[in-house]
């Protein structure tokens, strides 16, 4: 692959020199389809973007990189007319545009999947995909044609979903796929995918990439945001890096190493990450002869989880692996009393307990961070401090407010410890980027000083730096004696952190083993072996 342009200088704030040539050799000279220049946006006086530029060429996958809160989503929303820019120009197809609504950008051929799944859960899958461009007959919407068309697009993505089913009944990952299907369904010039893979499993990512490649080859310009570096390097041709709302550089992917990219994003050496790689799960330190912190027997709930046994010991990280919809979330929710179990027993430190609500679980020093940050985690209109202190305050009771001094000390401590940005405890939670919201939620639970921490996808949608911080934190907590149940779609992460591994499939536990050098492919074999349910696959003690 011969490249015709020079990469921008590392670390300099200036954009790459202008060039008139498309990024790949086999598709020569073409004008950019989108050219953003000097974009600045401030929220309430705080700049989120400052003089940022972005160029997209037809037939490329362009990765937009940056830490949490770097301004990726904001840049995208500036392009699609969600936010009005304070300064800067946007040129689409050679014409200067100032979109005033997403509808306008859509009409101009820009199709977008926003970071938070933005669909209507009360409508059917097909309706969500085709709202606003439904096929019509006799002046009215032709429902059957609509379902047919939706089915075709879903098939293209390799999805087996009933187009006539109501979207809200599907898990968040399926919803994300539907959002992608909606964006892919139109023949757009520009396709924008803001963290589309954050809740997808490997298989689905692969299928998404196939579709992306097809579209790219047809000449679509694709913007791709992801915190998974592997994915970036697998699919993208070129990338733009943002840091703190500023443009850091524009690069060819093929000419950039992972380490270099991380440096660009963080603006510092990635000491933490390397350290973590050396972190080997301290399997031997866990005393499994003692009474487990939590032990469940035959825990189950009709329609969501078959009877499951599980024990978690002090200082132990139990990783839960499984495909989408395998029942990991259900297990976590039942452990915590977020849903009530139909069957089974829960023992905490050897004593039988009943959790009829999360409060009972919290009283027994359990904590649970939900995978659905927006619906089940953040209190959007309250401040960072209030969000952080919510669980602690709730368990103290309303009559005993946390004294102002203590409040301040605790919040400051965690804002610093977790590197929450902006470091302003009075900032409204709504205005934090996704990754920072997640950190606040973690802080919320750590403040309750739990003995068992159940983390459902705590690193979803989080940048490498923050992800490393969170993983580090989990490891530290375990070393200090906390029991952790760690659920993640990212197998490497689960394997890296856990002392013991639980594998789930079709809403039941199919395997449980100590994590001594279990490899990713071992686990993959376990969780993906649906086609051949042979005896040797039966669960082992």
């Amino acid at each position: 692959m011969s490249q015709t342009q020079t990469p921008a200088a590392v670390g300099s704030g200036t954009p790459a020199p202008t060039r008139e040539v498309a990024p790949t050799a086999d598709r020569p000279a073409a004008a950019p389809v989108v050219e953003m220049q000097g974009i600045s946006i401030a929220f309430g006086g705080v700049p989120a973007l400052d003089d940022v530029a972005l160029r997209l060429y037809p037939g490329e996958v362009h990765a937009l990189m940056g830490e949490n809160g770097a301004g990726k989503s904001t840049l995208i929303k500036a392009l699609t007319g969600v936010y009005a820019v304070d300064a800067g120009t946007i040129v689409v197809d050679g014409r200067e545009e100032s979109f005033t609504s997403p509808a306008a950008s859509q009409a101009a051929g820009i199709s977008t999947v926003y970071q938070e799944v933005n669909l209507c859960t009360n409508l059917t899958v097909a309706e969500n995909m085709l709202l606003g461009r439904e096929p019509r007959r006799l002046g009215g919407i032709h429902t059957r044609a609509m379902n047919r068309r939706a089915r075709a697009t879903l098939d293209r993505l390799g999805l087996d979903i009933d187009p006539a089913s109501v979207l809200g009944r599907h898990p968040i990952a399926v919803q994300q796929l539907v959002a992608i299907a909606r964006a892919v369904d139109v023949e757009a010039k520009v396709l924008i995918l803001d963290e589309p893979t954050s809740s997808l499993d490997a298989d689905e990512v692969a299928r998404l990439f196939t579709v992306m490649r097809t579209l790219r080859d047809q000449g679509t310009a694709i913007v791709f945001v992801s915190h998974f570096l592997d994915q970036i390097f697998e699919i993208s041709d070129r990338l733009t890096v943002l840091r703190n709302g500023r443009l850091v550089g524009e690069r060819m992917v093929a000419e950039t190493s992972q380490l270099e990219l991380v440096k660009l994003m963080l603006g510092r050496e990635l000491a933490t990450l390397e350290e973590l790689d050396r972190e080997v799960a301290a399997t031997d330190l866990v005393d499994r002869s003692a009474t487990p912190v939590l032990k469940v027997l035959g825990l189950g709930r009709k329609g969501s989880l078959q009877a499951t046994d599980l024990a978690v010991y002090e200082g132990e990280v139990v990783g839960v692996a499984g495909l989408l919809g395998s029942g990991r979330t259900e297990l976590a929710r039942l452990l915590f009393g977020a849903d009530t179990a139909d069957t089974g027993e829960i023992e905490v430190h050897g004593k039988t307990r009943r959790f009829r609500s999360p409060r009972h679980a919290i009283d027994r020093r359990l904590a649970f961070s939900s995978e659905n940050r927006r619906a089940e985690g953040v209190i959007e209109d309250l401040s960072v401090a209030d969000n952080m202190l919510l669980a602690m305050q709730a368990s103290r009771g309303w009559l005993r407010p946390i004294p102002a001094a203590q409040r301040h000390a605790l919040v400051t401590k965690y804002v610093e410890a977790l590197d929450i940005r902006p470091a302003n405890p009075d900032a409204t939670m709504r205005n934090l980027s996704g990754g920072n919201q997640q950190k606040v939620l973690l802080a919320r639970w750590l403040l309750t000083e739990p003995e068992l921490l159940v983390l459902d996808e705590p690193t979803r949608g989080i940048d490498v730096g923050a992800k490393a911080q969170i993983q580090q934190l989990v490891a530290d907590l375990a070393r200090r004696g906390m029991a952790v149940v760690f659920i993640s779609a990212e197998l490497e992460e689960v394997l890296r952190l856990s002392d013991r591994l639980v594998v789930m499939r079709e809403r039941r536990k199919i395997d449980e083993r100590l994590n001594d050098d279990v490899s990713v492919s071992d686990v993959l074999e376990l969780i993906a072996g649906q086609e051949r349910p042979t005896p040797e696959e039966a669960p082992r003690g």
Binding site: A375, W398, L399
Partner: protein, 356 residues
Amino acid sequence: MAETPARTADRGGRLALLRRNPLLWPVVALVALLAINVVANPGFLSLRMQDGHLYGNLVDIARNGAPVLLVALGMTLVIATRGIDLSVGAVAAISGAVACVYIAGAPDGGSVGTAIVACSLALATCVALGLWNGFLVSVLGIQPIIATLVLMTAGRGLAMLVTDGQITTVNNSTFAGLGVGFVATLPIAILVALGVFALTALVVRRTALGMLIEAVGINPEASRLAGVRARTIIWTVYVFAALCAGLAGLMIAGNTSAADANNAGLWIELDAILAVVIGGTSLAGGRFSLAGTLVGALFIQTLATTIPNLGIPAQTNYLFKAVVVILVCLLQSPRVRHALRVRRRTLPMTAKAGVA
């Protein structure tokens, strides 16, 4: 009167702070309304002392506004949890009915003891009604508008059942005092309402209750998962709203020394909701402002006083109210404020661009 530059700058900063204060527009509207009254009737603000009692328009506004303020206080907390309570008017009627019927039937209908028992009985009834509303909303999960619509419909019937359809008149000076009495030159009604206001503000803002209420109002599920007793909190605010409504009902009954099951507190729920909204609390739940509600309630009452004071024909008072309500809400709307602010901000922005 030369001012140092530093002081002017400081003042500018404070002005900006003031401009961002959510209470600004409600207070401005209230002051404007009072000003209009003064123009129409220069003696409007004058107060006079007679027999050790304070008289005057301002006192009347506060006294007549006391029931609305009470109801609006309860409503504020209900609205903060994303709810609404349409039944407060009916609850007020029931409260007055229970008290008056008890006093009318008591052997010594004029004594202080009777009045106290009657009021306690009435308030206890209101607690039960509040528990009922809270049960429907928080346990059965029925939408608040509908859950309280049930009691709004049936409540007046219950009040009539209690009074046997008659307007029950009582002769008890202690009871009447709640509506018309004076303590230390001020009407008791004002003192009671302000007392409840202060107590509520204290409990809500000096404990964690306010924050928990807001959390439940903004995201009930997330609050539940964080261990907040969402159900208990929701239940409690409905009880509190009913209690406030009951107290208001006692005032209304005390005011005329009679329980009118049909008309006591009629449409007071709408006035209370208006007061809450004018005070800057969003009907979508979440953040609330008790001080705003106070201003809102006073505004509503001043408006009601203004219309006859200006000699506006009674037929048009609805029009007047509609226009004023829309104006105040528009001024408060973030959109409109933003538009106003953007125009003001244009200059500094271009200046910044010039520097860059």
